[in-house]
């Protein structure tokens, strides 16, 4: 399947989880200060491993950065 991961089109195996997507951008589930949204809605870290990403979904993996 094809998802948008942090704005880039990515191919993932069908049924790939949020955890897998996070790994793709270098984020491990035990990293602090990160969060994931799928289609704009937060997926709690505790459920990354068990939450499959729908085909075509927009996934955003974010971290703290410098800001006002």
């Amino acid at each position: 399947m094809r998802i948008s991961l942090n704005g880039a089109e990515r191919d993932l195996p069908d049924g790939a989880t949020v955890a897998a997507a996070a790994r793709l951008v270098g984020v491990a589930p035990d990293e602090r200060g990160v969060a994931v949204a799928v289609e704009g809605a937060v997926v709690p870290k505790a459920r990354w491993a068990e939450t499959p990403i729908p085909d075509g979904a927009r996934v955003e993996v974010v971290r703290a950065t410098a800001g006002g």
Partner: protein, 260 residues
């Protein structure tokens, strides 16, 4: 004794909040944070590829509270979604709510801001709302439950100081929750003035990060906030339009030399 600044029931040891934006190196940020004495530091959320990491750990190591902002959001919906993400990322329900109405001035949009504030308060967030210097809007933000109101002194990053001191004074009269001067602080006297006008705290970002020596400027702002706060409490002398002798003429000796 001076009551400490208290936001949403939390007592804070410093009246200077630090924005983490604009530093060119993380170690400079860390030094400035230490010098500032700030216990609250704002951060933004960005895609991990654009967010090098390390910042969160530096702030936690310093024992400061992370205050996520919603910078970059132009609608209530985006701001609310960003607050959700921040709550997940930082395990905090505090949020500095920014809803911008204009890309060039980065001024807030009153309508979307109020909408987002109401929604987030309803969801249990502790909302610190970045707003214009409009006392009526500020009061509305308080009325919908914001924990602090954060008026701008001048546009974000402009360093123009407080362009309308009267407005800040009117906000102080109108608002009971903590008032935090946000945006526009350029140097120490701006921060002192904010406190003299009745603000409870000051947030500085660019003033520190873009100073030639950020660490020293952090010290300067820490002192200035304390100075302004003390001056407010000390009750300044009134302004008079002509001179008022600080030395009395009573008992002035006559030192004219003898005529002879």
């Amino acid at each position: 004794m001076d009551a400490p600044l208290t936001i949403a029931g939390e007592e804070l040891g410093s009246r200077l909040l630090l924005g983490s934006g604009g530093f060119d190196r993380l170690d400079r940020f860390e030094a400035a944070l230490a010098a500032s004495g700030a216990e609250i530091v704002t951060v933004a959320l960005r895609r991990v590829e654009d967010a090098p990491g390390g910042l969160y750990d530096v702030i936690r190591r310093a024992g400061a509270r992370v205050l996520p902002n919603t910078a970059g959001c132009f609608t209530a919906r985006d701001a609310v979604a960003t607050a959700h993400l921040a709550r997940e990322a930082f395990e905090t329900d505090w949020v500095k709510l920014e809803v911008i109405g204009d890309r060039r001035t980065l001024l807030p949009d009153a309508v979307e801001l109020l909408r987002a504030a109401e929604e987030l308060v309803g969801e249990g967030f502790v909302v610190l709302a970045y707003t214009t210097d409009d006392p009526v809007l500020g009061r509305r933000l308080e009325d919908v439950g914001c924990a602090a109101v954060m008026p701008l002194g001048s546009p974000i990053g402009s360093g123009l100081g407080i362009r309308n001191p009267d407005a800040i004074e009117l906000m102080r009269d109108a608002i009971s929750v903590p008032l935090v001067l946000d945006a526009g602080i350029g140097t120490a006297s701006d921060a002192a003035l904010a406190m003299e006008l009745g603000c409870d705290a000051v947030l500085a970002a660019t003033a520190i990060s873009r100073a030639r020596e950020p660490e020293r400027m952090a010290t300067a702002l820490r002192l200035a906030v304390e100075a302004g706060h003390a001056a407010r409490r000390a009750g300044r002398t009134e302004r008079v339009h002509h001179a008022r002798a600080s030395t009395s003429d009573a008992g002035l000796p006559d030192l004219t030399p003898s005529a002879g």
